[in-house]
Structure formats: structure tokens, C-alpha cells
């Protein structure tokens, strides 16, 4: 194996192998990433940097390695989305209302990573409470995509809500990062930053300690530079957890072991409803290429139908705000979080603390959610949406009678400009048109970099799997990765900024 010349160019798996073979120390690796994070402040990818903690963890890892008891992710520096509670380290969820919140406990997913030996570089920026598709709703300012169009200096969004994690991975500021995905918040930013992101099956990762947005949709997952890295990281994020009754007790396979098994004989479904109106030709062509790539490697292509696809987004925009309005009721300015000054009574305290603490998009969704759950409207909206979800899940169950995975575009287009889509909420919501069905049905989905647009911006393809069959997704994603040969990297313009 020839290793990259720069430590920050290592993939997670390469770094693991180098650290375990004592070719590189965790301290050297961590020092390089701490510097990369500091140098990349113009991207605004981090809300909180934790360089001292990172070096402390790295030194402890080097001691373990020296003593021959290294764990699977020993000494590997990661970035953590600021939605995961980290004990003693500020966790904001991208919101003013949690601007000074220091959790007294650790999320199960991040604890699993520390137990596997990983090192924390810091907490990444995100859309407020994970509500957004461009990272522009963060109280801490937008994140900029490391990618820019050819011959352009215009700042582009990194997608959202896990925009900071996506930018940190794409810009080589960490080996890998955690994300969360409620409607596409891992896969959409991964696709527009040329990185890999998987939303596992609902229940695969514990939600304990992840600030809740929409509890029946939220799932944590890895964001990485390669498919192998995603397989490796998910293995160590996933677990059944007594603290999350929806986490599922199904053994987590060694995804890396079957990664190179190939797609010979795999039945790949192509859902015709994903050929949406006004689909840009570049997306259509990329999808076709993906089909050819898999076919050339021995997969069998099957046409399938998911007739309720067009109802997925509107269904989502009832279910998610409804659950969000319930979950966000806890922010009252009393026990933690922002409190308005000079309240005249308790209701005034609640109303003003929440109005000052929540941003515009979050307030809009709380109002939608409150409305659709309110007396007289529950059946017309929420109950109907939950029935639509059953129909959407049935579509998939039916399709999986004739195929093993589905191949679709990941996003309707490449990264767009900062401020370009903030005026119309519905236009922004349409970014998740290909990803949201997967959350509603609880299924796993992975975004893989597959090509560049004519002006040099990354595009991704999405593979959707059967429940708890992430292993097949990784195999198929690896086949696309091999065929696409995606090696492009953004120019590091932020170093001169």
C-alpha cells in the first residue's frame, strides 16, 4: 500500500492501518488535523474546536498502541456533529437556545466511538436543530462548501443539515465525521460535497443523547471520504442500547469483510417515479451511467415502481414538524438553555425565551407542527400523513420482491449558492426529494460520489436497501466507487482566504 504524502489526505482505513502498524503516531496524525481545522476557519465548519482534548486523547491512544492493546479506531481523529451530546463539551444543535448548553452526559453513538479509541477534534456546524438543507439556518452562520465551481469565487452551500460534517470531510479537516439524517441530512450534503454518507436503518444506531428533531425519522450515520471508511465507522457507531427502546437487537455485521464481494447477480431496481419533471440532464446522465456501471460488473437491472413517491415530501412536512413541535416543547427557558430577561410571568418567560432562542425556520416548523396536531386538524393532516407512510413503505416492500437494492440520484442538482434558495421554503424542501422516502420507510440509504458537473461540482448517486441490509448497500456502493473512480478534490482556497 502506498500512503498519501500528507497525513490529512489519509482515508480513515489507511490511517487505522498506519497507526496500528506504528508507521504514524496518533499524536502526529491528530496534530496535522488540529492544524487543518484551524486553517479552515473561513469554511465555518466547526462550532467548537477541541484541540487540547484531541491531543490528550491522542497521547492516551499512543500509550495503548505502545502497550499492544489498541482498539479498532485507536487514535483516529473524528469530527462530531453538534447534535450529539458530548459530556463537558458545549453542544448547541446549531441553535441560540442551546448556545451555552454543556451536557452532563454523552450520546451513545459518540461514547461507542470513544470506547473504540477514536479522538475528538471538535463539534461541527449544522442547520438549527437539523432543520435545513443548506446549513444556512445555523445560529452560528452558514458553512461554506469546500467546492467552488470552476473559475468562480462564489461561495456555495455544503448541503444540510450535516453541512459542517460534510465540509470537514470534503476539506480533509478530519478523517471522518458523524452526521444525522431525518429527511436526507447525511446523504444530501454528502452528495454535494463529493463524500460518502449513509443513513442506516432506523434502529441501527441509538438515538440516546442526540438532540431530538423528529423521533420516528432521526438516525445517526457516518460521513466519510470512501465507502470502506463508512463501513468501518458505522460498525463502531451502531449498537443496541437500553437507553433507546427503538434501537434494534440485530447483530452488527463486519461490513468491511464483505465490502469487495462485488455485485454479480445483484438485482438493482430502477424506480421510474424518480425520473422527476425538469430533472437536469446532468443528473439523468449520471443515473444512466450508474446503471451501466453496475450492469458491467454483473448486476441485473430491474424496472420497478414506487407509485407514492410524489407524496413523500408533503408527508414528511407534516410528520417531521409535528414531531419537532412536540420534541421542542422542552425548551422553556427554565431548566437549561436561553432565558429571556425581565419576564413578567411564567407564560411570558416561555414565549419570549422561545421566540428569542429559536431561529426563523425552527419557529416556522413549530407552528406547522402545532397546527397539524391541533384539535380539529389532527385527522386531516397528521393521521392522513401517517397512513401515507404505510403506503410508501408498502411500495418498497413490493419493489423488494423483484430487486435487492434501488439505484436513484441523490440530489436534484449540485451545490447551490449561499442565499440562493432561502426565500421560498418549499423550493428549499425540494432538495430532499430523492432522500426523504427512505426516512419515512425507515430504510437504509447511502450516497456515493459519482461524478462532476460540467463546471466541476460533485454529484452523487443513492442506493437504497432493505431494512438492516446495510452490508449489501456497502457492496453496491463500493462497485459504484470503483467504476466512478472519483478522485477529484476541491482546491484549498480557504488557506489563502
Amino acid at each position: 500500500m502506498t500512503l498519501p504524502s500528507k497525513l490529512t489526505d489519509f482515508s480513515l482505513a489507511e490511517a487505522r492501518d498506519a497507526v496500528q502498524a506504528k508507521k504514524v503516531s496518533s499524536k502526529e496524525l491528530t496534530t496535522a488535523f488540529v492544524k487543518a481545522v484551524a486553517d479552515a476557519r473561513p469554511l465555518n465548519a466547526f462550532v467548537t474546536e477541541t484541540p487540547e482534548k484531541a491531543l490528550e486523547m491522542a497521547v492516551a491512544s499512543d500509550v495503548r498502541i505502545a502497550h499492544g492493546n489498541a482498539r479498532p479506531l485507536e487514535g483516529l481523529p473524528l469530527a462530531i456533529k453538534d447534535l450529539f451530546c458530548t459530556k463537558g463539551v458545549k453542544t448547541t444543535a446549531g441553535s441560540k437556545i442551546l448556545g451555552n448548553f454543556v451536557p452532563p452526559y454523552e450520546s451513545t453513538v459518540s461514547q461507542n466511538l470513544w470506547d473504540a479509541g477514536a479522538v475528538m477534534l471538535g463539534k461541527t456546524n449544522m442547520d438549527e436543530f437539523a432543520m435545513g438543507s443548506s446549513n444556512e439556518t445555523s445560529h452560528f452562520g452558514p458553512v461554506f462548501n469546500p467546492w467552488r465551481a470552476r473559475n468562480s469565487n462564489a461561495n456555495l452551500v455544503p448541503g444540510g443539515s450535516s453541512g459542517g460534517s460534510a465540509a470537514a470531510v470534503a476539506g480533509n479537516l478530519c478523517l471522518a465525521a458523524t452526521g444525522t439524517d431525518t429527511g436526507g441530512s447525511i446523504r444530501q450534503p454528502a452528495a454535494v460535497t463529493g463524500t460518502v454518507g449513509i443513513k442506516p436503518t432506523y434502529g441501527r444506531c441509538s438515538r440516546f443523547g442526540i438532540v431530538a428533531f423528529a423521533s420516528s425519522l432521526d438516525q445517526a450515520g457516518p460521513m466519510t471520504r470512501t465507502v470502506r471508511d463508512a463501513a468501518l465507522l458505522l460498525k463502531h457507531m451502531a449498537s443496541v442500547d437500553p437507553k433507546d427502546s427503538t434501537s434494534v437487537d440485530i447483530p452488527v455485521p463486519d461490513y468491511e469483510a464483505t465490502l469487495e464481494d462485488g455485485v454479480k447477480g445483484l438485482r438493482v431496481g430502477i424506480p421510474k417515479e424518480y425520473r422527476i419533471d425538469n430533472m437536469p440532464p446532468e443528473i439523468e446522465q449520471l443515473w444512466q451511467k450508474g446503471i451501466e456501471w453496475l450492469k458491467a460488473q454483473g448486476a441485473q437491472i430491474v424496472d420497478v415502481s414506487l407509485p407514492h413517491t410524489k407524496y413523500a415530501l408533503p408527508t414528511y412536512y407534516i410528520v417531521a414538524p409535528a414531531e419537532a413541535s412536540s420534541n421542542l416543547a422542552r425548551y422553556d427557558g427554565v431548566r437549561y438553555g436561553h432565558r429571556a430577561a425581565g419576564a413578567k410571568d411564567i407564560v411570558d418567560l416561555y414565549e419570549r425565551s422561545r421566540a428569542e432562542g429559536f431561529g426563523k425556520e425552527v419557529q416556522r416548523r413549530i407552528l406547522i407542527g402545532t397546527y397539524v396536531l391541533s384539535s380539529g386538524y389532527y385527522d386531516a393532516y397528521y393521521s392522513r400523513a401517517q397512513k401515507l407512510r404505510t403506503l410508501i413503505l408498502r411500495d418498497f416492500t413490493e419493489a423488494y420482491k423483484t430487486c435487492d437494492v434501488l439505484l436513484t440520484p441523490a440530489t436534484p442538482g449540485p451545490a447551490f449558492g449561499v442565499g440562493e434558495k432561502t426565500a421560498d421554503p418549499v423550493e428549499m424542501y425540494l432538495n430532499d426529494v430523492f432522500t426523504v422516502t427512505v426516512n419515512l420507510a425507515g430504510l437504509p440509504g447511502i450516497a456515493v460520489p459519482a461524478g462532476l458537473t460540467a463546471n466541476g461540482l460533485p454529484l452523487g448517486l443513492q442506493l437504497i436497501g432493505k431494512a438492516f441490509d446495510e452490508a449489501t448497500l456497502f457492496k453496491a456502493a463500493r462497485a459504484i466507487e470503483i467504476a466512478a473512480g472519483f478522485t477529484a478534490k476541491p482546491t484549498e482556497w480557504w488557506r489563502a482566504a
Binding site: V102, Y311, R335, I346, A355, L367, Q386
Partner: protein
């Protein structure tokens, strides 16, 4: 279905969100835009379709009804905007 200014004021009250009067009108427009778009769900016949209550087929797990954690008053109070002797301090509630 369309919402008006009074509906917006009412749901803001229910949601315990102080909504400045100047924001009521724009919010009416934004919410109606979203609700209009959501209207398309009415095209679907959902008669006899059960609501999805769990995406993964499993019975909700039960655990023993015993104390698993606690005695963490200091940790619980650490983030309180205002507190005294392990009590949260709020404006007077009862007149």
C-alpha cells in the same frame, strides 16, 4: 385549507412562541404556501390503510420498573439559567 391571521396568532399561543405582530402577516403567507403544497395528499385514498406506527417490526421493549440512575442534582442544575439550592427559579406562577 387556508390559515388566517387569527389562526397564526392562536397556534403561536399554543406553541408558546411570542410572535411579533409584524411577523403575523408574512407567516400567514409562508404557512399557506406550505399547506397548499401539502393539499396534494388529499388525492390519495387512504380508506382502510392503518397509520404507520413503527417503521421496524418489533414490540416495544419493556424493562424492569426500577431506578437505574439518579442522585445527580448538581449535574441537572448545572445548565439552569437561574437556580437556588437545587431548585429552578422562575417568575411567580400563582398570584
Amino acid at each position: 385549507m387556508t390559515v388566517g391571521k387569527d389562526d397564526v396568532r392562536k397556534i403561536a399561543k399554543l406553541a408558546r412562541l411570542a410572535l411579533d405582530e409584524s411577523r403575523v402577516e408574512p407567516m400567514v403567507g409562508e404557512l399557506n404556501g406550505i399547506f397548499q403544497w401539502v393539499e396534494q395528499l388529499n388525492e390519495v385514498d387512504v380508506a382502510g390503510v392503518p397509520p404507520l406506527t413503527s417503521v421496524v417490526e418489533q414490540r416495544l421493549k419493556m424493562r424492569d420498573d426500577v431506578v437505574t440512575d439518579g442522585d445527580a442534582a448538581n449535574a441537572l442544575m448545572a445548565n439552569a439559567p437561574s437556580g437556588e439550592d437545587h431548585f429552578f427559579v422562575v417568575p411567580k406562577v400563582v398570584e
